[in-house]
Protein backbone atom coordinates (compact mmCIF):
# COMPACT_ATOMS: atom_id res chain seq x y z
CA UNK A 1 0.00 0.00 0.00
CA UNK A 2 2.66 2.43 1.06
CA UNK A 3 4.59 1.83 -2.11
CA UNK A 4 1.69 2.48 -4.42
CA UNK A 5 0.64 5.54 -2.48
CA UNK A 6 4.15 6.88 -2.64
CA UNK A 7 4.25 6.14 -6.35
CA UNK A 8 1.04 8.09 -6.87
CA UNK A 9 2.39 11.08 -5.00
CA UNK A 10 5.60 10.90 -6.98
CA UNK A 11 3.91 10.65 -10.33
CA UNK A 12 1.49 13.44 -9.45
CA UNK A 13 4.40 15.63 -8.39
CA UNK A 14 6.31 14.97 -11.61
CA UNK A 15 3.23 15.72 -13.73
CA UNK A 16 2.50 18.92 -11.80
CA UNK A 17 6.07 20.10 -12.23
CA UNK A 18 6.04 19.23 -15.92
CA UNK A 19 2.86 21.28 -16.34
CA UNK A 20 4.32 24.47 -14.86
CA UNK A 21 5.68 25.99 -18.11
CA UNK A 22 2.53 25.47 -20.24
CA UNK A 23 0.24 26.63 -17.43
CA UNK A 24 2.41 29.65 -16.76
CA UNK A 25 2.43 30.38 -20.49
CA UNK A 26 -1.33 30.08 -20.64
CA UNK A 27 -1.76 32.52 -17.79
CA UNK A 28 0.93 34.80 -19.22
CA UNK A 29 2.93 34.44 -16.01
CA UNK A 30 6.38 33.28 -17.10
CA UNK A 31 7.78 34.23 -13.70
CA UNK A 32 6.57 30.93 -12.27
CA UNK A 33 8.84 29.05 -14.65
CA UNK A 34 11.78 30.85 -13.03
CA UNK A 35 10.46 30.30 -9.52
CA UNK A 36 9.83 26.59 -9.91
CA UNK A 37 13.13 26.10 -11.70
CA UNK A 38 14.88 27.67 -8.75
CA UNK A 39 12.93 25.41 -6.42
CA UNK A 40 13.98 22.33 -8.38
CA UNK A 41 17.62 23.37 -8.34
CA UNK A 42 17.53 23.59 -4.57
CA UNK A 43 15.61 20.32 -4.61
CA UNK A 44 18.61 18.66 -6.24
CA UNK A 45 20.85 20.10 -3.55
CA UNK A 46 18.49 18.95 -0.80
CA UNK A 47 18.17 15.53 -2.40
CA UNK A 48 21.93 15.10 -2.39
CA UNK A 49 22.06 16.13 1.25
CA UNK A 50 19.39 13.56 2.07
CA UNK A 51 21.72 10.84 0.80
CA UNK A 52 24.31 11.57 3.47
CA UNK A 53 22.08 13.15 6.11
CA UNK A 54 19.08 10.89 5.92
CA UNK A 55 20.55 7.62 4.74
CA UNK A 56 24.10 8.02 5.92
CA UNK A 57 23.37 9.75 9.22
CA UNK A 58 26.06 12.34 8.52
CA UNK A 59 24.73 15.70 9.68
CA UNK A 60 26.68 17.90 7.32
CA UNK A 61 26.26 21.58 8.12
CA UNK A 62 28.37 22.55 5.16
CA UNK A 63 26.49 21.38 2.14
CA UNK A 64 26.31 24.85 0.65
CA UNK A 65 30.05 24.63 0.01
CA UNK A 66 29.42 22.40 -3.02
CA UNK A 67 26.72 24.72 -4.28
CA UNK A 68 29.40 27.42 -4.31
CA UNK A 69 32.11 25.27 -5.86
CA UNK A 70 29.79 24.14 -8.64
CA UNK A 71 28.75 27.72 -9.34
CA UNK A 72 32.34 28.93 -9.37
CA UNK A 73 33.38 26.14 -11.74
CA UNK A 74 30.87 27.42 -14.28
CA UNK A 75 31.62 31.07 -13.54
CA UNK A 76 35.38 30.77 -13.81
CA UNK A 77 35.23 28.91 -17.12
CA UNK A 78 32.81 31.51 -18.45
CA UNK A 79 35.12 34.25 -17.17
CA UNK A 80 37.84 32.92 -19.45
CA UNK A 81 35.42 32.57 -22.35
CA UNK A 82 34.89 28.83 -22.11
CA UNK A 83 31.16 28.33 -22.23
CA UNK A 84 30.95 24.67 -23.18
CA UNK A 85 28.37 23.30 -20.77
CA UNK A 86 29.57 19.72 -20.94
CA UNK A 87 32.99 20.80 -19.77
CA UNK A 88 31.69 23.32 -17.24
CA UNK A 89 29.25 20.95 -15.63
CA UNK A 90 31.65 18.00 -15.56
CA UNK A 91 34.25 20.14 -13.84
CA UNK A 92 31.60 21.47 -11.45
CA UNK A 93 30.81 17.91 -10.43
CA UNK A 94 34.43 16.81 -10.31
CA UNK A 95 35.64 19.81 -8.32
CA UNK A 96 32.84 19.52 -5.78
CA UNK A 97 33.44 15.82 -5.45
CA UNK A 98 37.15 16.46 -4.93
CA UNK A 99 36.43 19.04 -2.24
CA UNK A 100 34.02 16.61 -0.61
CA UNK A 101 36.76 13.99 -0.66
CA UNK A 102 39.17 16.21 1.24
CA UNK A 103 36.53 17.45 3.69
CA UNK A 104 35.16 13.94 4.11
CA UNK A 105 38.50 12.30 4.84
CA UNK A 106 38.99 14.60 7.79
CA UNK A 107 35.45 15.01 9.05
CA UNK A 108 34.10 11.46 8.78
CA UNK A 109 36.67 10.43 11.37
CA UNK A 110 34.67 12.49 13.85
CA UNK A 111 31.05 12.04 14.77
CA UNK A 112 28.12 13.76 16.39
CA UNK A 113 28.43 17.43 17.04
CA UNK A 114 32.09 17.42 16.03
CA UNK A 115 31.06 16.33 12.57
CA UNK A 116 28.44 19.08 12.38
CA UNK A 117 30.95 21.71 13.41
CA UNK A 118 33.88 20.60 11.31
CA UNK A 119 31.78 20.56 8.15
CA UNK A 120 30.56 24.02 9.11
CA UNK A 121 34.13 25.20 9.62
CA UNK A 122 35.30 23.93 6.25
CA UNK A 123 32.47 25.75 4.55
CA UNK A 124 33.36 28.93 6.39
CA UNK A 125 36.90 28.54 5.10
CA UNK A 126 35.66 28.20 1.54
CA UNK A 127 33.37 31.18 2.05
CA UNK A 128 36.30 33.36 3.11
CA UNK A 129 38.34 31.95 0.26
CA UNK A 130 35.60 33.03 -2.14
CA UNK A 131 35.61 36.51 -0.65
CA UNK A 132 39.33 36.84 -1.18
CA UNK A 133 39.23 35.70 -4.83
CA UNK A 134 39.69 39.20 -6.17
CA UNK A 135 39.93 38.17 -9.80
CA UNK A 136 36.49 36.64 -9.61
CA UNK A 137 34.85 39.59 -7.93
CA UNK A 138 35.63 38.84 -4.30
CA UNK A 139 32.52 39.16 -2.17
CA UNK A 140 30.71 40.89 -5.02
CA UNK A 141 30.92 37.78 -7.08
CA UNK A 142 30.61 38.06 -10.82
CA UNK A 143 28.02 37.86 -13.51
CA UNK A 144 27.77 34.89 -15.80
CA UNK A 145 27.88 36.45 -19.22
CA UNK A 146 26.36 33.55 -21.08
CA UNK A 147 24.56 30.51 -19.84
CA UNK A 148 26.27 27.18 -20.50
CA UNK A 149 26.24 26.16 -24.16
CA UNK A 150 25.43 22.63 -25.27
CA UNK A 151 26.55 22.59 -28.88
CA UNK A 152 23.10 23.55 -30.07
CA UNK A 153 21.46 20.58 -28.36
CA UNK A 154 19.53 22.73 -25.95
CA UNK A 155 19.40 26.46 -25.41
CA UNK A 156 19.33 27.39 -21.72
CA UNK A 157 18.39 30.96 -22.59
CA UNK A 158 14.97 29.60 -23.39
CA UNK A 159 13.31 29.54 -19.95
CA UNK A 160 11.20 26.48 -20.67
CA UNK A 161 14.06 24.52 -22.23
CA UNK A 162 16.21 25.27 -19.20
CA UNK A 163 13.27 24.33 -16.99
CA UNK A 164 12.91 20.91 -18.57
CA UNK A 165 16.66 20.30 -18.37
CA UNK A 166 16.47 20.93 -14.62
CA UNK A 167 13.36 18.81 -14.28
CA UNK A 168 15.00 15.97 -16.19
CA UNK A 169 18.07 16.16 -13.99
CA UNK A 170 15.92 16.20 -10.89
CA UNK A 171 14.03 13.11 -12.01
CA UNK A 172 17.30 11.45 -12.99
CA UNK A 173 18.75 12.12 -9.55
CA UNK A 174 15.59 10.83 -7.90
CA UNK A 175 15.91 7.64 -9.90
CA UNK A 176 19.64 7.29 -9.29
CA UNK A 177 19.16 8.05 -5.62
CA UNK A 178 16.39 5.49 -5.28
CA UNK A 179 18.49 2.79 -6.94
CA UNK A 180 21.56 3.71 -4.98
CA UNK A 181 20.00 3.61 -1.52
CA UNK A 182 18.38 0.26 -2.22
CA UNK A 183 21.49 -1.25 -3.78
CA UNK A 184 24.23 -2.90 -1.78
CA UNK A 185 26.02 0.42 -1.45
CA UNK A 186 22.98 2.07 0.08
CA UNK A 187 22.44 -0.85 2.43
CA UNK A 188 25.95 -0.38 3.83
CA UNK A 189 25.59 3.31 4.64
CA UNK A 190 22.08 2.79 5.97
CA UNK A 191 23.24 -0.02 8.22
CA UNK A 192 26.11 2.14 9.47
CA UNK A 193 23.66 4.92 10.29
CA UNK A 194 21.41 2.44 12.06
CA UNK A 195 24.14 0.84 14.17
CA UNK A 196 27.76 1.43 13.27
CA UNK A 197 29.39 -0.95 15.79
CA UNK A 198 27.13 -3.70 14.55
CA UNK A 199 27.94 -2.90 10.95
CA UNK A 200 31.64 -3.15 11.75
CA UNK A 201 31.14 -6.38 13.66
CA UNK A 202 29.54 -8.13 10.70
CA UNK A 203 32.48 -7.08 8.55
CA UNK A 204 31.63 -3.78 6.91
CA UNK A 205 34.31 -1.11 7.00
CA UNK A 206 31.86 1.82 6.80
CA UNK A 207 34.43 4.58 6.45
CA UNK A 208 35.06 4.22 2.74
CA UNK A 209 31.38 3.76 1.95
CA UNK A 210 30.44 6.82 3.96
CA UNK A 211 33.23 8.72 2.29
CA UNK A 212 32.02 7.58 -1.13
CA UNK A 213 28.49 8.71 -0.28
CA UNK A 214 29.85 12.02 0.93
CA UNK A 215 31.72 12.47 -2.35
CA UNK A 216 28.72 11.48 -4.47
CA UNK A 217 26.49 13.89 -2.58
CA UNK A 218 29.09 16.62 -2.98
CA UNK A 219 29.29 16.02 -6.72
CA UNK A 220 25.51 16.07 -7.12
CA UNK A 221 25.25 19.27 -5.13
CA UNK A 222 28.03 20.69 -7.30
CA UNK A 223 25.82 20.15 -10.31
CA UNK A 224 23.04 21.98 -8.49
CA UNK A 225 25.53 24.80 -8.01
CA UNK A 226 26.28 24.84 -11.73
CA UNK A 227 22.54 25.05 -12.39
CA UNK A 228 22.12 27.79 -9.81
CA UNK A 229 24.84 29.86 -11.49
CA UNK A 230 22.96 29.50 -14.77
CA UNK A 231 19.65 30.28 -13.09
CA UNK A 232 20.97 33.41 -11.38
CA UNK A 233 23.40 34.30 -14.16
CA UNK A 234 25.45 35.49 -11.26
CA UNK A 235 27.52 33.84 -8.57
CA UNK A 236 28.85 34.98 -5.25
CA UNK A 237 30.49 33.55 -2.13
CA UNK A 238 27.09 34.09 -0.55
CA UNK A 239 26.09 30.74 -2.08
CA UNK A 240 28.38 29.22 0.55
CA UNK A 241 27.16 31.16 3.56
CA UNK A 242 26.47 28.92 6.54
CA UNK A 243 22.84 29.97 6.77
CA UNK A 244 22.44 28.59 3.27
CA UNK A 245 23.59 25.19 4.54
CA UNK A 246 20.98 25.51 7.26
CA UNK A 247 18.27 26.24 4.70
CA UNK A 248 19.13 23.18 2.61
CA UNK A 249 19.09 21.10 5.76
CA UNK A 250 15.71 22.49 6.66
CA UNK A 251 14.37 21.57 3.22
CA UNK A 252 15.34 17.97 3.92
CA UNK A 253 13.68 17.90 7.34
CA UNK A 254 10.62 19.82 6.22
CA UNK A 255 9.97 17.44 3.37
CA UNK A 256 10.94 14.31 5.24
CA UNK A 257 14.33 12.73 5.76
CA UNK A 258 15.21 9.43 4.16
CA UNK A 259 12.58 9.67 1.48
CA UNK A 260 14.47 11.39 -1.37
CA UNK A 261 11.20 12.79 -2.63
CA UNK A 262 10.58 14.59 0.64
CA UNK A 263 13.51 17.00 0.23
CA UNK A 264 12.11 17.95 -3.18
CA UNK A 265 8.80 18.78 -1.58
CA UNK A 266 10.67 20.61 1.20
CA UNK A 267 12.55 22.80 -1.28
CA UNK A 268 9.34 23.69 -3.13
CA UNK A 269 7.45 24.51 0.04
CA UNK A 270 10.22 26.44 1.79
CA UNK A 271 11.09 28.62 -1.20
CA UNK A 272 7.40 29.09 -1.98
CA UNK A 273 6.74 30.09 1.59
CA UNK A 274 9.64 32.55 1.53
CA UNK A 275 8.25 34.10 -1.63
CA UNK A 276 4.73 34.42 -0.24
CA UNK A 277 5.66 35.50 3.29
CA UNK A 278 8.20 38.11 2.23
CA UNK A 279 5.55 39.71 0.05
CA UNK A 280 3.25 39.91 3.07
CA UNK A 281 5.56 41.40 5.66
CA UNK A 282 9.17 42.40 6.07
CA UNK A 283 9.07 40.58 9.39
CA UNK A 284 8.52 37.26 7.65
CA UNK A 285 11.32 35.62 9.58
CA UNK A 286 9.34 35.88 12.80
CA UNK A 287 6.85 33.53 11.19
CA UNK A 288 9.40 31.28 9.49
CA UNK A 289 11.50 30.79 12.65
CA UNK A 290 8.79 29.35 14.90
CA UNK A 291 7.49 27.39 11.90
CA UNK A 292 10.88 25.72 11.73
CA UNK A 293 10.79 24.91 15.43
CA UNK A 294 7.29 23.48 15.17
CA UNK A 295 8.17 21.31 12.19
CA UNK A 296 11.18 19.88 13.98
CA UNK A 297 9.27 19.26 17.19
CA UNK A 298 6.01 17.91 15.87
CA UNK A 299 6.34 16.81 12.26
CA UNK A 300 9.39 14.59 12.39
CA UNK A 301 8.40 12.61 9.33
CA UNK A 302 8.06 15.76 7.28
CA UNK A 303 5.49 16.69 4.69
CA UNK A 304 6.14 13.64 2.60
CA UNK A 305 5.47 11.54 5.69
CA UNK A 306 2.07 13.23 5.94
CA UNK A 307 1.05 12.80 2.33
CA UNK A 308 2.30 9.25 1.85
CA UNK A 309 1.12 7.83 5.15
CA UNK A 310 -0.93 4.69 5.00
CA UNK A 311 -4.67 4.84 5.69
Amino acid sequence: MAISRRAIVLAAGAVLLALVPPVAGLLNQPFYVDLFRRMMIFAIAALSLDLILGYGGMVSFGHAAYLGIGAYAVGIFAFYGVDNGFLQWSVAIAASAAAALVIGVISIRTSGVYFIMITLAFTQMLYYLGISLETYGGDNGMPLKTRSQFAGLVDLRNPSAFYYVVLALLLLFLLLGRRLVDARFGMVIRSARSNEPRARAIGFAPFRYKLAAFVLAGGACGLAGALLANQTEYLTPDFMHWTRSGEIMFMVILGGMRTLFGPVLGAVVLLGLEDVLSALTEHWQIILGPFLVVVVLFAKRGLFGLVSRDG
Partner: protein, 305 residues
Protein backbone atom coordinates in the same frame (compact mmCIF):
# COMPACT_ATOMS: atom_id res chain seq x y z
CA UNK B 1 58.33 44.14 22.02
CA UNK B 2 55.82 46.33 23.80
CA UNK B 3 53.60 45.89 20.78
CA UNK B 4 53.73 42.13 21.09
CA UNK B 5 52.77 42.47 24.75
CA UNK B 6 49.91 44.77 23.86
CA UNK B 7 48.70 42.42 21.17
CA UNK B 8 48.96 39.59 23.67
CA UNK B 9 46.64 41.57 25.97
CA UNK B 10 44.29 42.10 23.07
CA UNK B 11 44.31 38.39 22.40
CA UNK B 12 43.63 37.70 26.06
CA UNK B 13 40.75 40.14 26.07
CA UNK B 14 39.23 38.64 22.94
CA UNK B 15 39.76 35.20 24.43
CA UNK B 16 37.90 36.27 27.56
CA UNK B 17 34.90 37.38 25.51
CA UNK B 18 34.95 34.09 23.67
CA UNK B 19 35.25 32.21 26.95
CA UNK B 20 32.18 33.86 28.45
CA UNK B 21 30.18 32.72 25.44
CA UNK B 22 31.81 29.32 25.21
CA UNK B 23 31.41 28.46 28.90
CA UNK B 24 27.62 28.61 28.76
CA UNK B 25 27.45 26.77 25.48
CA UNK B 26 29.75 24.00 26.59
CA UNK B 27 27.95 23.58 29.95
CA UNK B 28 24.64 23.20 28.19
CA UNK B 29 26.13 20.76 25.77
CA UNK B 30 28.00 18.79 28.39
CA UNK B 31 25.07 18.34 30.71
CA UNK B 32 21.99 18.35 28.55
CA UNK B 33 23.68 17.17 25.38
CA UNK B 34 22.07 20.10 23.57
CA UNK B 35 23.61 21.91 20.62
CA UNK B 36 22.21 25.38 21.01
CA UNK B 37 22.77 27.65 18.02
CA UNK B 38 20.51 30.20 19.69
CA UNK B 39 23.17 30.82 22.33
CA UNK B 40 24.18 33.83 20.24
CA UNK B 41 20.65 35.15 20.56
CA UNK B 42 20.98 35.18 24.35
CA UNK B 43 24.18 37.16 23.92
CA UNK B 44 22.24 39.63 21.81
CA UNK B 45 19.40 39.77 24.34
CA UNK B 46 21.93 40.47 27.09
CA UNK B 47 23.39 43.37 25.13
CA UNK B 48 19.96 44.84 24.37
CA UNK B 49 18.64 44.47 27.90
CA UNK B 50 21.77 46.00 29.41
CA UNK B 51 21.45 48.95 27.08
CA UNK B 52 17.77 49.36 27.75
CA UNK B 53 18.19 49.11 31.52
CA UNK B 54 21.17 51.44 31.47
CA UNK B 55 19.09 54.02 29.66
CA UNK B 56 16.21 53.52 32.07
CA UNK B 57 18.28 53.76 35.24
CA UNK B 58 20.84 56.15 33.85
CA UNK B 59 23.65 53.97 35.13
CA UNK B 60 25.81 51.55 33.20
CA UNK B 61 26.52 49.42 36.25
CA UNK B 62 22.87 49.23 37.34
CA UNK B 63 21.91 48.39 33.80
CA UNK B 64 24.39 45.56 33.75
CA UNK B 65 23.27 44.27 37.14
CA UNK B 66 19.63 44.24 36.03
CA UNK B 67 20.37 42.72 32.63
CA UNK B 68 22.10 39.69 34.09
CA UNK B 69 19.10 38.21 35.96
CA UNK B 70 16.82 39.35 33.15
CA UNK B 71 18.79 37.36 30.59
CA UNK B 72 18.79 34.43 32.96
CA UNK B 73 15.01 34.71 33.07
CA UNK B 74 14.77 34.85 29.27
CA UNK B 75 16.95 31.74 29.14
CA UNK B 76 14.71 29.92 31.58
CA UNK B 77 11.60 30.85 29.63
CA UNK B 78 13.15 29.66 26.37
CA UNK B 79 14.23 26.44 28.03
CA UNK B 80 10.81 25.70 29.43
CA UNK B 81 8.87 26.60 26.30
CA UNK B 82 11.01 25.37 23.46
CA UNK B 83 14.23 23.60 24.34
CA UNK B 84 13.20 21.20 27.07
CA UNK B 85 11.68 18.83 24.56
CA UNK B 86 14.86 18.87 22.50
CA UNK B 87 17.15 17.17 25.03
CA UNK B 88 16.17 13.70 23.96
CA UNK B 89 16.27 14.54 20.27
CA UNK B 90 19.27 14.08 18.02
CA UNK B 91 21.69 16.86 17.20
CA UNK B 92 20.10 17.46 13.83
CA UNK B 93 16.77 18.41 15.39
CA UNK B 94 18.53 20.61 17.91
CA UNK B 95 20.53 22.44 15.26
CA UNK B 96 17.45 23.12 13.17
CA UNK B 97 15.11 24.11 15.96
CA UNK B 98 17.63 26.48 17.49
CA UNK B 99 18.37 27.85 14.01
CA UNK B 100 14.66 28.68 13.90
CA UNK B 101 14.97 30.39 17.28
CA UNK B 102 17.75 32.59 15.88
CA UNK B 103 15.43 33.85 13.14
CA UNK B 104 12.72 34.46 15.71
CA UNK B 105 14.90 36.36 18.17
CA UNK B 106 16.55 38.53 15.53
CA UNK B 107 13.18 39.52 14.18
CA UNK B 108 11.68 40.05 17.62
CA UNK B 109 14.52 42.37 18.59
CA UNK B 110 14.11 44.20 15.28
CA UNK B 111 10.44 44.73 16.00
CA UNK B 112 11.00 45.91 19.56
CA UNK B 113 14.11 48.04 19.15
CA UNK B 114 14.24 48.57 15.39
CA UNK B 115 16.79 47.29 12.94
CA UNK B 116 19.27 50.08 13.46
CA UNK B 117 22.16 49.56 15.81
CA UNK B 118 21.36 51.23 19.12
CA UNK B 119 23.49 53.58 21.14
CA UNK B 120 25.38 52.20 24.10
CA UNK B 121 27.16 54.47 26.49
CA UNK B 122 29.95 54.08 29.00
CA UNK B 123 30.54 56.13 32.11
CA UNK B 124 33.39 58.59 31.44
CA UNK B 125 35.57 56.77 33.97
CA UNK B 126 35.54 53.70 31.75
CA UNK B 127 35.57 55.20 28.30
CA UNK B 128 39.18 56.34 28.15
CA UNK B 129 42.49 54.60 28.35
CA UNK B 130 45.17 54.42 31.01
CA UNK B 131 48.93 53.94 31.18
CA UNK B 132 49.58 50.30 31.86
CA UNK B 133 53.34 50.43 31.42
CA UNK B 134 55.52 53.29 30.33
CA UNK B 135 54.77 53.60 26.63
CA UNK B 136 51.76 51.33 26.76
CA UNK B 137 48.30 52.86 27.03
CA UNK B 138 45.41 50.46 27.23
CA UNK B 139 41.66 51.12 26.98
CA UNK B 140 40.18 51.08 30.48
CA UNK B 141 37.09 49.25 29.42
CA UNK B 142 39.08 46.46 27.78
CA UNK B 143 41.01 45.96 30.98
CA UNK B 144 37.70 45.73 32.82
CA UNK B 145 36.52 43.08 30.36
CA UNK B 146 39.59 41.01 31.15
CA UNK B 147 38.99 41.35 34.89
CA UNK B 148 35.31 40.45 34.66
CA UNK B 149 36.10 37.49 32.45
CA UNK B 150 38.74 36.16 34.80
CA UNK B 151 36.37 36.67 37.73
CA UNK B 152 33.67 34.75 35.89
CA UNK B 153 36.10 31.94 35.19
CA UNK B 154 37.08 31.76 38.87
CA UNK B 155 33.43 31.87 39.88
CA UNK B 156 32.66 28.99 37.55
CA UNK B 157 35.63 27.03 38.82
CA UNK B 158 34.53 27.42 42.42
CA UNK B 159 30.94 26.68 41.49
CA UNK B 160 31.78 23.50 39.67
CA UNK B 161 34.39 22.16 42.07
CA UNK B 162 33.06 23.05 45.49
CA UNK B 163 29.32 23.51 45.58
CA UNK B 164 26.48 21.03 45.63
CA UNK B 165 25.22 22.42 42.32
CA UNK B 166 28.67 21.96 40.86
CA UNK B 167 28.80 18.42 42.12
CA UNK B 168 25.49 17.72 40.42
CA UNK B 169 26.74 19.37 37.25
CA UNK B 170 29.83 17.22 37.20
CA UNK B 171 27.84 14.11 37.98
CA UNK B 172 25.16 14.99 35.48
CA UNK B 173 27.71 15.40 32.76
CA UNK B 174 28.88 11.84 33.15
CA UNK B 175 25.88 10.02 34.47
CA UNK B 176 22.33 11.25 34.34
CA UNK B 177 20.64 8.25 35.88
CA UNK B 178 22.95 8.50 38.84
CA UNK B 179 21.91 12.08 39.44
CA UNK B 180 18.28 11.11 39.11
CA UNK B 181 18.87 8.33 41.60
CA UNK B 182 20.13 10.91 44.09
CA UNK B 183 16.61 12.21 44.17
CA UNK B 184 17.50 15.41 42.35
CA UNK B 185 14.86 16.97 40.16
CA UNK B 186 16.66 16.64 36.85
CA UNK B 187 14.29 18.97 35.06
CA UNK B 188 14.92 21.72 37.53
CA UNK B 189 18.67 21.12 37.39
CA UNK B 190 18.59 21.42 33.61
CA UNK B 191 16.56 24.60 33.73
CA UNK B 192 18.99 26.02 36.25
CA UNK B 193 22.03 25.09 34.18
CA UNK B 194 20.46 26.53 31.06
CA UNK B 195 19.67 29.73 32.92
CA UNK B 196 23.27 29.87 34.12
CA UNK B 197 24.50 29.42 30.54
CA UNK B 198 22.10 32.13 29.38
CA UNK B 199 23.34 34.48 32.08
CA UNK B 200 26.94 33.88 30.98
CA UNK B 201 25.99 34.63 27.37
CA UNK B 202 24.14 37.68 28.60
CA UNK B 203 27.22 38.76 30.53
CA UNK B 204 29.28 38.44 27.35
CA UNK B 205 26.63 40.40 25.50
CA UNK B 206 26.42 43.22 27.98
CA UNK B 207 30.19 43.48 28.14
CA UNK B 208 30.25 43.52 24.34
CA UNK B 209 27.63 46.25 24.03
CA UNK B 210 29.92 49.24 24.51
CA UNK B 211 32.58 47.93 22.11
CA UNK B 212 30.57 46.24 19.42
CA UNK B 213 27.49 47.25 17.47
CA UNK B 214 24.30 46.31 19.29
CA UNK B 215 21.94 45.27 16.53
CA UNK B 216 19.82 42.31 15.42
CA UNK B 217 21.99 39.42 14.31
CA UNK B 218 24.99 40.46 16.41
CA UNK B 219 25.07 37.02 18.02
CA UNK B 220 25.84 35.17 14.81
CA UNK B 221 28.96 37.25 14.17
CA UNK B 222 30.63 35.67 17.15
CA UNK B 223 28.73 32.38 17.42
CA UNK B 224 30.69 30.43 14.86
CA UNK B 225 33.99 31.41 16.43
CA UNK B 226 32.61 30.27 19.76
CA UNK B 227 31.82 26.91 18.27
CA UNK B 228 35.36 26.71 17.04
CA UNK B 229 36.46 27.41 20.62
CA UNK B 230 34.50 24.60 22.20
CA UNK B 231 35.36 22.15 19.44
CA UNK B 232 39.05 22.83 19.92
CA UNK B 233 38.68 22.68 23.69
CA UNK B 234 36.55 19.59 23.76
CA UNK B 235 32.80 19.84 24.09
CA UNK B 236 31.42 19.81 27.60
CA UNK B 237 34.65 20.77 29.32
CA UNK B 238 35.02 24.11 31.10
CA UNK B 239 38.78 23.67 31.11
CA UNK B 240 38.57 23.04 27.38
CA UNK B 241 36.55 26.22 26.96
CA UNK B 242 39.25 28.21 28.76
CA UNK B 243 42.01 26.66 26.69
CA UNK B 244 40.10 26.89 23.43
CA UNK B 245 39.11 30.51 24.02
CA UNK B 246 42.67 31.54 24.79
CA UNK B 247 44.05 29.66 21.79
CA UNK B 248 41.48 31.12 19.41
CA UNK B 249 41.70 34.62 20.88
CA UNK B 250 45.48 34.64 20.63
CA UNK B 251 45.77 33.00 17.23
CA UNK B 252 43.13 35.25 15.73
CA UNK B 253 44.53 38.46 17.20
CA UNK B 254 48.18 37.73 16.60
CA UNK B 255 47.37 36.39 13.15
CA UNK B 256 45.64 39.63 12.24
CA UNK B 257 48.43 41.71 13.68
CA UNK B 258 51.53 39.90 12.54
CA UNK B 259 50.73 37.44 9.77
CA UNK B 260 50.95 39.93 6.93
CA UNK B 261 54.22 41.54 8.06
CA UNK B 262 55.69 38.10 8.69
CA UNK B 263 54.57 36.80 5.33
CA UNK B 264 56.06 39.78 3.57
CA UNK B 265 59.50 38.79 4.81
CA UNK B 266 59.04 35.39 3.16
CA UNK B 267 57.19 36.20 -0.05
CA UNK B 268 56.86 39.48 -1.92
CA UNK B 269 54.99 42.26 -0.04
CA UNK B 270 52.36 42.35 -2.77
CA UNK B 271 51.67 38.65 -2.41
CA UNK B 272 51.63 39.05 1.36
CA UNK B 273 49.04 41.83 1.04
CA UNK B 274 46.84 39.48 -0.92
CA UNK B 275 47.37 36.29 1.03
CA UNK B 276 47.75 37.74 4.53
CA UNK B 277 44.18 38.87 5.21
CA UNK B 278 42.67 35.84 3.51
CA UNK B 279 44.86 33.49 5.50
CA UNK B 280 44.27 35.38 8.75
CA UNK B 281 40.52 34.94 8.36
CA UNK B 282 40.87 31.22 7.73
CA UNK B 283 43.49 30.63 10.41
CA UNK B 284 41.23 29.50 13.25
CA UNK B 285 39.31 27.15 10.98
CA UNK B 286 42.53 25.61 9.73
CA UNK B 287 43.63 25.22 13.31
CA UNK B 288 40.38 23.55 14.24
CA UNK B 289 40.65 21.11 11.34
CA UNK B 290 44.19 20.30 12.42
CA UNK B 291 43.20 19.76 16.07
CA UNK B 292 40.34 17.50 15.07
CA UNK B 293 42.53 15.57 12.68
CA UNK B 294 44.87 14.61 15.49
CA UNK B 295 42.42 14.68 18.40
CA UNK B 296 38.89 14.06 17.14
CA UNK B 297 37.51 14.81 20.62
CA UNK B 298 39.27 18.14 21.10
CA UNK B 299 42.04 19.03 23.50
CA UNK B 300 40.18 18.14 26.71
CA UNK B 301 37.80 15.33 25.89
CA UNK B 302 35.14 14.66 28.50
CA UNK B 303 34.71 11.13 29.67
CA UNK B 304 32.03 8.88 28.30
CA UNK B 305 31.29 10.82 25.18
Amino acid sequence: MLLVLEQGLNGLQYGVMLFLMAAGLTLVFGIMNLVNLAHGSLYMVGAYLATAFARWTGSFVLGALLALPATLLVGVVVEVIALRTLYERDHLDQVLATFGLILFFNELVAIVWGRAAIYTSLPPSLSGSFVLLPGLRYPTYRALVILVGVAAAVFLYVLVTSTRLGMLIRAGASNRTMVAALGVNIRRLYTLVFGLGAALAGLAGLMAGPIYAVQPGMGEQILIQVFVVIIIGGIGSIRGAVAGAMVVGMVDTLGRAFLRPTLSTIVSPAAADKAGPALASMLIYLMMAAVLFFRPQGLFPTRGR
